[in-house]
Symmetry: C2
Subunit: 244 residues, 2 copies
């Protein structure tokens, strides 16, 4: 089971969205993170050209969106539904952060479809809607200004789903991996450096002033590449030749 | 040093933004995550009523924004600058994910100001701009559709900064913490349950069919609260009395 499989299993459910622009923004946010199942519960206006415009290159998600009348229909067949909510509610389940919830959702993805449920822009999810879900989820925000818009909330949750589903190797795949210098190559360079600064008089072995440990510390942080060791040693040799 | 201190140290630098709406969206995104220092390098239009409208309750960040002519000016005095970029570049530093970069930035926050640098909406950061920064940062996206808009990119990075700066205790602070049942209270309930289902004939001790291990497994997942143990035991007692 790979990460993309888990993302395919996630329904992003927008309950009673008022503004078609937010539906389009949600579709775009989903697609940037590799999610594709958009479900709309009683949208005020859909389809709508404003949604298409905001979706930009993600109009395909709008075309395949499922429109249903009730949240129960959108959740039918799911095995775990997360309600995204900013408020604490009485008698609610313990809230999870978006990050913890994403890990939990991916863990369940082998068992069936999953849902991320978002409420209306103004009123949020009703207590009844939250009650239909099995996991309340909160995006940590500034307590003095927690005004995340719907598109931003969808973006953050889908991002956390991608981060939970994918491995670091997926993320860095295709990046150039320059050959890192081995321990002995670095030690060879440091010996060459010590020789050169001793010859130049900058390093006085009888009065070392911790020069070599400081230079060693600097290059330890750099994590030299093979090619760089070659460049640096060539540079040292040029100083040595010039001085002869 | 607390988490809010680290967030105060972060300059969000937008280089050559074309659309004032994106400046407003960035300000709102920053404020939701507790960041406040907005720097603008040669914005096409600023101040602008469109920026104010999109900022919603975060107009204060626009009012205190610093407008400068060059990226060098925006980075003066910073000790670590992260360049947010979608592309791999030749001879660049190894890329970090947004999450790893946020942890690194918070680690440096005791040493001076930090910068998160975002490029122009269409052209991104130039190679020269990336070269002025010490850490290229990438937000993992769907390789087939990586079209994050500027506001979304700022939102995700600021969220990762908040997640890196704050502790889980900050996030859950103020949530009700119902009293969880202790081990012995749960065991007392399970013994009571076994007694009741034996009396009712549902559990046959000579033919147990793994009933009690299954019920034990169920309640282990629930992590019962004290009050719930009281409710469940009261319910069992009512069944037992009714049967007498």
């Amino acid at each position: 089971m790979n990460g993309a499989f888990a993302l395919d299993r996630v329904r992003v459910v927008l309950s009673r969205p008022s503004h078609p622009g937010n539906i389009g923004a949600a579709a775009r946010a989903m697609k940037t993170m590799g999610l594709s199942q958009l479900w709309l519960v009683s949208p005020a206006a859909f389809p709508d050209p404003v949604a298409d415009a905001r979706a930009s290159g993600a109009v395909d998600l709008l075309e395949s969106a499922r429109v249903v009348a009730t949240l129960e229909e959108a959740l039918a067949g799911t095995v775990l539904a997360a309600a995204v909510t900013a408020r604490r509610r009485e008698l609610s389940l313990p809230r999870m952060t978006a990050r913890a919830a994403a890990v939990e959702l991916v863990r369940w993805s082998g068992r069936g479809d999953l849902a991320l449920v978002f409420g209306n822009e103004t009123s949020g999810l009703s207590n009844e809607e939250v009650g239909l879900c099995s996991m309340p989820v909160t995006i940590p925000t500034n307590p003095d200004f927690s005004s995340l818009n719907l598109g931003a909330a969808v973006q953050l949750l889908c991002y956390e789903m991608r981060m939970a589903a994918m491995t670091p190797a997926d993320v860095y795949a295709g990046d150039p991996q320059p050959q890192v210098a081995t321990h002995d190559e670095v030690e060879g360079f440091l010996a060459h450096l010590e020789q050169a600064v001793t010859e130049s008089g900058f390093h006085e072995p009888h009065n070392p002033r911790r020069l070599m440990p400081r230079l060693r510390r600097l290059f330890a942080r750099v994590r030299l590449e093979k090619e760089e060791v070659g460049i640096l040693r060539g540079m040292l040799s040029s100083f040595q030749r010039k001085a002869e």
